[in-house]
């Protein structure tokens, strides 16, 4: 697995890197105050990102995939000098997974695994949402295209739907895409 490690303290970066390599991961390390993190994520395509909870670059990492269409990645936070109570509270509140400083390598693996599992669960929900959203958009556009056809070709609703369906089949398009093509064409004319 490709792991990107973001931490401003070089010593701790090295200390975290070693156990990760032992676990067989490919590790790239960065300091947030000197790197263009967005570019680094693009270049290295990490599977998971481990980031120190107190670096400002967190906002950059989080936003990747939230607004842009880049592939989002699970983010694991690690906290130095944090009390167990802090971590417990944070996890309860739904904050991403935490790793504590100086953790032994054996504990690192399950935490990363859990973070990825949790992330995938979240992604599945998000994809479902995306799908619902596009279905709603499809329905709206199909209705609009049908309306256009009914008006221009003087068809009834069934006739308009049939015509749209045939257009989609002929052009090997999804019904929603065919509707949007038709609407765009109508807008040009």
């Amino acid at each position: 697995m490709r792991v990107m490690l973001v931490d401003d303290e070089p010593e701790r970066r090295a200390a975290t890197e070693a156990p990760l390599r032992l676990l067989g991961h490919e590790v790239v390390g960065f300091s947030t105050s000197t790197s263009d993190l967005a570019a680094a994520v693009k270049r290295h395509q990490p599977d998971v990102i481990l980031v120190d909870v107190d670096v400002p670059g967190r906002d950059t990492l989080e936003s990747l995939g939230q607004v842009t269409r880049d592939r989002p990645r699970p983010i694991v936070l690690f906290a130095s000098h944090s009390e167990p109570e802090t971590i417990r509270k944070a996890l309860q509140a739904g904050v991403s997974s935490y790793v504590v400083d100086g953790m032994n390598p054996a504990r690192l693996k399950p935490i990363i695994d859990v973070a990825i599992a949790r992330f995938e669960e979240f992604q599945a929900l998000r994809n479902e949402l995306e799908e619902t959203r596009s279905k709603l958009a499809d329905r709206r556009d199909i209705e609009k295209a049908k309306g256009l056809l009914m008006k221009r070709r003087n068809l009834d609703e069934n006739g308009a739907y049939e015509l749209l369906r045939r257009m989609a089949m002929d052009r090997n398009l999804k019904l929603g895409d065919a509707a949007r093509t038709l609407i765009a064409a109508a807008e040009l004319l």
């Binding site: 967005a38 400002p56 989080e62 607004v67 802090t86 944070a90 509140a93 739904g94 904050v95």
Partner: protein, 387 residues
Amino acid sequence: MALEKNDIKLGLVPLIDAAPLIVAKEKGFFEEQGLNVTLSVEASWASIRDKVAAGLLDAAHMLAPMPIAATAGIDGVGVPMMTALSLNLNGNAIAVSQSLYWRLQLDELTPISVGERLKRVLEADRAAGAPPRVFAHVFPFSPHHYELRYWLAGCDIDPDRDLQLVVIPPPQMVRALRDGSIDGFCVGAPWGAVAQAAGIGRVVLNKYQIWNNSPEKVLGVTHAWAEAHPQTHLALIAALIRAAQWLDQPANRSEAARLIVEGHYVEATPETVHESLAVGAPGKPENAGLVFHAGAATFPWVSHALWFVGQMRRWNQLPPGTDGDALARASYRPDLYRAAAAQFGMPCPAVDLKSEGQHAGIHTLSRDHTIELGADRFFDGAGYSPS
């Protein structure tokens, strides 16, 4: 009435508009309310959100849309938050790199004319096969993000297709502009002025020009915290209103700048901090700078929340079917603000909504002529009347 809690930890991000928190602490306004406040400087908005959500901070300096995103459950954590106090209006600047500035050939620094020139450059870039230009803002749920998109889209530039938007923490903006990883940014004071003073970028527009006196930062808490600490919450609001009043007396601005510099809250030169807090600087549009109290600046308008909800919807951040009105009313709480203001007899708006885009100067609410409000135009002349 007795406070539920006296020792309070408040988070802030190093920006000039954290001034009300700093002033309330340093000038004793918190103490007057029986509060013993510790200010905690946080490195990122994500950190503010996490620590407030986890209860490690009682309340914090937040981007105005953050409580809305938290309540909608779209901020990655989903612990509902609210605000009952706006901390300021205006303050952000849009700056571009020196090289883009020269390409733009600007003869007029207005949103429409800068937008027209930018569109022309982007089209020329595309025709030449150049990679898309990159503009930065500070957080997916930030006024900066929505301002930038509102302006670009209003100038017929598609913010998703014609250029690339990225997030960069405010203190790193200037470096990113210098090393060429971005071509422009929208960021809060003092970072636009810092880029300009260093000769790295040029400020071409400010937030005021895009939407006059529009909301920027708020005091955010979780719903659970507000319910468990109602009196403490009101005391915090009251202390911060007093700080905002103090800050809007022009004679106090230079002392405020000194408090920010000497407390090392923002790592910028004293000159830049002073400049960012200057009132009515020559050559700037009227009231373009930070407003903390004038024009009901501290009031948490539900109509402002509704505008943000509209932008979240417009840019596909909200799940379809979200009840926007309920979301805005759950996250912005003017009722609590009024309760706090009543404690020291300060008049405040009796309505939760106001229209936007219809006033070029100082005016009063149509149903309450005692409340004076500032100009509220959008650069594109649009009107906004939520109901």
